[in-house]
């Protein structure tokens, strides 16, 4: 580990006030559904936290997850925490390149064996290992090596958590999520394309403070951030309940801020913290800026039938099917009808009246 400074020291050096730091702690605690009494404990633990070794592996990804964390114009507490935990190995952020970079990774793995946090963004191709290699090492081999000494694995972003874009149909590279390959180590899926920065630091803060893993949902995502759907927390929800929808991006409904369900909003299926935490330091989030949620934190959201199609609307060729079926139905129905008439005519023709006397004669 290159530095022995505590997180508190790093933050102070970078001009973060005590007040700003405590505000961050309070916000993080409330996001993680911790009682207020734990805020001082969180602050104390974070302040004293020494830099854990983090190895960040990037596989089939677009670097958007890293961009999401680092692209703030003012240094945020989130950004500084990331800087502090800093990274023994991260393609985009490290200065070293070539052999030196790979040595840094190997050294960090050796020195902190069993203790480092492994962050992975991007999916792993299994169809042909040559689709994605780093320094001649395939993604799968590098992941398996790095997992051996990891205390925990964080799958950062939807590609790592669920396969994401590389895994979208027809999945040409045979991309799989990190969780599908990692066995015997805790995997935390921080999905989103990209994930909300505070979710990333929130998970890291919990690891640093309590040394425990957060409670996870069915998809291995921290419940504190992925416990509620966008739909249930959306400030436009009252319009949905009233049946007031924007029909296009430039109609009266859109200007009045009505629900974007008809424009394909995937809020009902999506679990993420956007609606509550917003983006760009609380400035806005997709629905607030007038665009439907794409569902980027959910598995296979690329294959959900079009970003601008509501999830519940059939993708079947309704008009064509109904027309063919109607033609077929009329033909078949007419045939059956004629058959019925013939049967009736035949029955009428062959009718043999029976008198009461005849009936009484039968034994």
């Amino acid at each position: 580990m290159a530095t022995t400074k505590t997180l508190g020291e790093v933050l102070r050096e970078n001009g973060v006030t005590r007040r700003g730091f405590l505000k961050f702690c309070a916000a993080t605690a409330s996001l993680m559904a911790l009682p207020p009494s734990l805020v001082p404990a969180l602050a104390a633990a974070l302040e004293k936290a020494r830099r854990p070794s983090v190895i960040w592996l990037s596989f089939q990804e677009c670097t958007g997850c890293t961009e999401s964390l680092t692209r703030s114009h003012t240094p945020t507490v989130e950004g500084l925490i990331l800087e502090h935990i800093s990274l023994d190995y991260h393609h985009t952020l490290q200065a070293a390149s070539g052999d030196a970079a790979e040595h840094a990774r190997e050294d960090a793995m050796k020195e902190n064996f069993g203790h480092y946090i492994l962050v992975v963004d991007g999916s792993v191709p299994l169809a042909n290992p040559g689709y994605s290699t780093i320094a001649g090492i395939t993604n799968r081999v590098m992941l398996e090596e790095a997992v051996k000494g990891a205390a925990a694995v964080i799958a950062m972003g939807t590609c790592a958590a669920f396969g994401g874009l590389p895994g979208a149909a027809p999945n040409p590279t045979g991309a799989v999520s990190v969780g599908e390959l990692v066995k015997g180590k805790p995997v935390i899926n921080v999905s989103g394309c990209p994930p909300v920065p505070l979710v990333i630091t929130g998970v890291l803060a919990q690891l640093l403070t309590f040394g425990t893993l957060p409670a996870l949902d069915g998809y291995g995502r921290p419940l504190a951030f992925f416990g509620q759907s966008i739909h249930d927390r959306c400030y436009r929800r009252p319009f949905y309940d009233k049946g007031l929808f924007a029909e296009s991006f430039d109609d009266e409904g859109a200007r009045k801020g009505w629900c974007l369900y008809r424009l394909g909003c995937k809020g009902p299926m999506t679990y993420n913290a956007c609606a509550t935490m917003k983006w760009n330091q609380g400035t806005s989030w997709p629905v607030e800026s007038g665009h439907p949620c794409l569902g980027c934190a959910e598995p296979h959201f690329w294959d959900a039938g079009g970003f601008y199609e509501a999830l519940s609307v059939p993708t079947a060729a309704i008009a064509r099917t109904a027309t063919y079926a109607a033609v077929g139905g009329v033909a078949l129905g007419a045939a059956m009808g004629i058959l019925g008439r013939t049967t009736r005519q035949k029955a009428t023709a062959q009718r043999q009246p029976v008198s009461v006397d005849e009936l009484e004669q039968t034994p």
Binding site: G218, M269, E298, P314, I318, A325, G329, G333, R341
Partner: protein, 220 residues
């Protein structure tokens, strides 16, 4: 490997095509069979019109006659409750109206979600009560066939899966939604070939009834 999203895609796509085709073909065959068979010509002089009484009876028969109500008050009251609850959930739930608007281009105002929620919960309870009543009543149990239990199940499933999806009691959501749509597709497929057809044919039968009596100058 089938994941919830693939399942939903299949349900929204090919499965919906199949269900729709079966429903349309089946219903047209059933209806044409009925209409083409026609009725016996009536040579007597008409004492009244057919259309007025026919149309009136289509509506008036919705209310049970006093005799029926006296014999089976439970069936009439609980039957009414669940039919109304089902129709509210089907026709006045905003996302359902949106679906119709998107596919057929026609829409109408809906009810607030909590009202629809309550209506579907009441409809589910009423359906369960109907089943208990059917099983406990010796005559009804004797008369019940496999088809009765099948149609009961196929009617309950859309209500139940819709309720579970709305309250997020099945996860993940694409699975919940997929199951809900699938349950409706099963209902559509069974609709023309079971007593579920009554939703259409009951009104035809009522019209015939009213028209026959109307022609005779009698109030049906």
């Amino acid at each position: 490997m089938i994941n919830p999203m693939d399942f939903l895609a299949w349900v929204r796509g090919p499965a919906f095509d199949i269900a729709l085709a079966v429903f349309v073909v089946g219903m047209l065959v059933r209806l044409l069979e009925i209409f083409l068979l026609g009725r016996r010509p009536n040579y007597a002089q008409a004492r009244g019109g057919e259309w007025g009484p026919g149309l009136r009876t289509m509506v008036s028969r919705s209310l049970a006659d006093p005799g029926t109500f006296k014999r089976a008050p439970f069936n009439v009251i609980v039957g009414w409750i669940w039919h109304v609850g089902f129709l509210i959930a089907l026709l006045l739930f905003v996302p359902h109206i949106e679906l119709v608007k998107k596919t057929l281009g026609i829409g109408w105002p809906g009810l607030p979600n909590p009202v629809v929620d309550a209506a579907s919960a009441i409809a589910i309870v009423a359906l369960v009560a109907m089943l208990i009543h059917r099983v406990q009543h010796p005559v009804m149990r004797f008369l019940s066939t496999f088809e009765d239990y099948l149609t009961w199940t196929l009617t309950l499933l859309p209500l139940l899966t819709g309720y579970l999806a709305y309250h997020r009691l099945i996860n993940p959501y694409p699975l919940a939604l997929g199951l809900h749509i699938l349950s409706i597709e099963l209902l559509l497929i069974a609709f023309p070939f079971t007593k579920l057809t009554h939703a259409v044919t009951a009104f035809i039968a009522r019209w015939y009834n009213g028209a026959i009596f109307g022609r005779k100058g009698v109030r049906a």
